[in-house]
């Protein structure tokens, strides 16, 4: 009889199902034992959790079988429908608690570093991966590690969960679980149409932090003024990290003096006066103080005193912590990845990790999905560098050209919902850097034309760009079709292969879509050289899918612990 009820209640009418169970006296005596109300409730919760686990995992299996996707988020969606407090229920069972990681840029890389470090320290690490940083992704993470009785595997012993959390999801996650460590890495403008303005994110975070218990340790970037200010007034422990290497100042970077920098935290969080910088590394990241109210960058507890670039993806950093120095190699490109490593190290110290696993964890890390990832394509190399907002893009460009070598580049600009539908931000990116540094340049994506105009106004001659939009204009297609209908069969073929003189798209390549963009870019890259692909988020997914189909990379979700 219970089995029957189970299978009936998989659809989301769980509330009704529960009421039915309470009202029907014959059943309640069987399934719900009489007792104090809280015990009764707990028993109910265990049942619902079990049900949620079974239903979620079934849905995931079906989704995978039908090739609807990785089937990771559907697990969480279904489980949450059945038991909205599933995260709360499960997270409480994890012995070493949860580390949450957020920020505009570097969430995936930072949480990847933390996971690697803690794994090396001997803990069982449960880590939500790429693209599952909303509530449903977190729910999935737990559900796929739970048994049908609603208990985590091995009751969560020696386990710790590392949760990468979307900026806008922080208030919800903080309601659902008490984080042991909360890492706030940075805050830049990103997808204004989706997240709203930077100020509104900060006020949501501030509110979320006020709800955290004093047992939580905040790990904050001292060099990002709006992040550092989150620590003021917090009851629990706060650990700051920062960089103290004056040679990284923008003023001292060759050719960088007149570069355009978008600052997303110009004014003092305390009094509203403009910050003064003694050192500025990029955007609003640096050593700042307020001349009006005296607000200062907090002294970092963990600081990098030297950054040395050995090669493109080999940053040698020296860290100082409680009068001890440690040298670590960060195997990823760019100063932003030094910050990510530093955030991860600080978070690991906050859960009392030794230095040995910290060093091995960082040094042996592989780039996360699309974040500097290397792919071998026969006799050429592809490097994927995700860039999804002005500061991220600026830093990718700076890193790309840091060695002064001209590169082979494929830009992909999409404006799907996950990318942000407003592409105005490309005008805040310093594409002027690309001038003279692109050996070959292909531009693709749903907004290829917007990006091409941006590059044109940056001063790149149109002849140097190959523009491959995702599809031709419909009116051009129609025109060609009617001509085809009128013409004979032979002519029809000619028209398909050679463009008509009337077409205004003459300067734009007559091929469309990502596939041909990738082909063209690879063809333009000489044997033995590297093609740098810089996509927005959905562009990255599309490139990966394409590379998978060519057998160059494993399946996107294969690496996931499903």
């Amino acid at each position: 009889m219970r089995k029957q009820r189970l299978s009936q209640s998989v659809p989301p009418e769980t509330d009704g199902e529960q009421q039915e169970g309470q009202n029907d006296p014959s059943q309640s005596t069987n399934t719900v034992p009489q007792g104090p109300p809280d015990r009764k409730k707990r028993r109910q919760n265990v049942l619902r959790a079990g049900l949620a686990v079974v239903a979620g995992r079934a849905a995931g299996a079906i989704s995978r079988r039908l090739h609807l996707g990785g089937g990771t988020s559907v697990v969480g969606i279904v489980a949450q429908r059945i038991y909205p407090e599933i995260i709360e229920h499960m997270a409480a069972q994890v012995e070493h608690g949860s580390v949450i990681v957020t920020g505009t840029n570097g969430k995936t890389t930072t949480s990847g570093f933390i996971a690697a470090i803690l794994r090396d320290s001997g803990l069982r690490v449960w880590h939500n991966r790429e693209g599952s940083n909303l509530m449903r992704g977190v729910a999935s993470l737990f559900v796929i590690r739970a048994k049908p009785n609603g208990q985590l595997r091995r009751s969560g012993k020696r386990a710790i969960s590392i949760l990468e959390i979307d900026e806008a999801t922080i208030p919800q996650i903080v309601k659902a679980l008490e984080p042991r460590v909360a890492v706030f890495n940075n805050l830049f403008r990103d997808q204004l149409d989706r997240y709203g303005e930077v100020d509104s994110i900060i006020s949501h975070w501030r509110q979320a932090i006020s709800q955290m218990p004093a047992s939580t340790t905040l790990v904050l970037n001292a060099d990002d003024p709006s992040i550092a200010y989150l620590g003021t007034g917090f009851n629990g422990k706060v650990l700051y990290y920062g960089i103290d290497d004056p040679s990284l100042d923008l003023q001292k970077q060759p050719g960088d003096n007149e570069q355009y920098q978008v600052s997303d935290a110009r004014t003092c969080s305390n009094c509203g006066r403009e910050y003064t910088y003694s050192l500025r590394f990029y955007s609003h990241i640096g050593h700042y103080h307020c001349t009006s109210c005296g607000l200062q960058r907090p002294q970092p507890d963990i600081r990098v005193i030297q950054v040395q670039l050995d090669s493109f993806d080999h940053n040698r950093i020296t860290i100082e912590y409680i009068a001890q120095k440690y040298e670590i190699i960060v195997p990823l490109p760019g100063l932003y990845n030094v910050y990510n490593a530093l955030a991860a190290i600080t978070a690991s110290l906050a859960v009392n990790t030794d230095w040995q696993p910290i060093i091995t964890g960082i040094e042996q890390s592989k780039p996360a999905f699309g974040r500097g990832e290397l792919i071998q394509a026969e006799d050429k190399t592809i490097r994927l560098l995700l860039a999804k907002n002005p500061t991220g893009f600026n830093e990718v460009l700076r890193t790309l050209f840091s060695e002064g070598i001209a590169r082979h580049i494929l830009f992909i600009l999409n404006d799907n919902i996950a990318d942000g539908q407003d592409v105005s931000w490309i005008w805040d990116v310093d594409f002027e850097r690309v001038v003279g540094h692109a050996q070959t340049l292909v531009i693709s994506g749903t907004r290829a034309l917007d990006l091409a105009i941006r590059l044109k106004y940056a001063g790149i001659p149109q002849k140097k760009m190959t523009i491959i939009p995702h599809m031709p204009l419909k009116s051009e297609r129609d025109k060609r079709q009617t001509r085809q209908q009128r013409g004979a069969h032979k002519k029809q073929k000619e028209h398909q292969t050679s463009p008509t003189s009337e077409q205004i798209t003459s300067q734009i390549a007559n091929s469309y879509g990502l596939k041909s963009a990738l082909d063209t870019a690879l063809k333009q890259t000489p044997v033995g050289e590297t093609l740098f692909i810089v996509p927005t988020y959905t562009g990255l997914l599309a490139v990966h899918r394409e590379l998978e189909q060519r057998g160059l990379t494993p399946h996107f979700w294969e690496g996931k612990e499903v």
Partner: protein
């Protein structure tokens, strides 16, 4: 035209509050104006006018004001009243071209009424006002196309406030999108040569005709003629004024010639710009507009 001398034309653009109001790719508008001037040999100087800087109308030929975060608009509104108001008014009454985008547009209208809290006073250049109806009313977000001057303008809009026009003329009629308030199909506002709009994305790169229109207005205003003559057909403008004789009154001569050529800016290669313009129209389902744009482009190419 033998032994005359040539003199390069210069324009000065005042960029209001570049640090405070820079949220929606406003830099694209500035870069576009600069580049389109440069390609015609016109020197466009850009002067940033921050909080506390005065605005002397004689020093500028064109003004731009962008959009920003709510927090940053309040000090800007105050500065606009206390520091720049008189200068800005004088400039506008003297027909200076002014482009105000998004937050800048709201600041040049009468007031901005937030869902909570006190009104933010604007300058009242446009007889219009903006009301934020609270978090429950959806923001106006998305691609937009409007009809302006018999042509189309395309862009992206993202605003919470709804703007209502009093006697102000709209910039254009909404073809697809929300516009000022998602109710009456108006978009933006015009007063003399001041243009307010919600279109960004950025606005000018994909609307080269509108960018050139603003440049022309500035050129005509700066070098306007006091006497209209019929000195042959106007030459196509290449950024230099050719002066046949060393004039007695050099400035007057200069003005006259610029007036002629100002209306005929050297056409540029805008294939990419129009292609992007057309592709946005197509996304919005405005197929007849796409055809019109492509036909006009073919005409331009000859």
């Amino acid at each position: 035209m033998s032994d005359g001398f040539t003199q390069p034309l210069t324009l000065t653009l005042g960029h209001l509050y570049p640090d405070q109001l820079n949220l929606y790719g406003d830099r694209g508008n500035i870069l576009t104006l600069r580049r389109r001037c440069q390609l015609r040999g016109i020197e466009l100087r850009i002067v940033g006018l921050g909080i506390g800087d005065a605005l002397a109308p004689d020093e500028y030929d064109m003004l731009f004001i962008g959009g920003g975060q709510d927090k940053e608009q309040a000090p800007v509104a105050q500065d606009l009243h206390e520091m720049k108001g008189i200068g800005l008014w004088a400039a506008i009454e003297d027909d200076m071209p002014v482009l105000a985008v998004c937050g800048g547009f709201q600041l040049l209208a009468h007031y901005y009424r937030p869902a909570e809290g006190p009104d933010m006073q604007g300058l009242g250049v446009f007889d219009a006002w903006t009301i934020h109806k609270g978090a429950r009313t959806a923001r106006c977000i998305g691609d937009i196309a409007i009809r302006w001057n018999g042509q189309t303008l395309v862009g992206f809009e993202n605003h919470g406030g709804r703007t209502y026009l009093g006697t102000a003329k709209p910039l254009g009629k909404v073809l697809k999108g929300n516009g000022n308030n998602a109710e009456d199909y108006t978009e933006g506002a015009i007063y003399r040569n001041a243009y307010g709009t919600y279109l960004h994305g950025s606005l000018l790169p994909k609307n080269p005709h509108f960018a050139d229109y603003l440049i022309k207005l500035a050129l005509q205003r700066k070098y306007r003629s006091e006497f209209h003559t019929d000195q042959g057909t106007p030459e196509e403008f290449n950024g230099h004024i050719h002066i046949d004789q060393v004039p007695m009154d050099g400035s007057q001569q200069l003005e006259r010639i610029a007036d002629n050529v100002g209306a005929h800016l050297l056409p540029l290669d805008d294939v990419l710009e129009w292609e992007a313009h057309a592709s946005l129209l197509e996304r919005l389902g405005l197929h007849s507009e796409v055809t019109a744009v492509l036909a006009a482009q073919r005409m331009r190419k000859g």
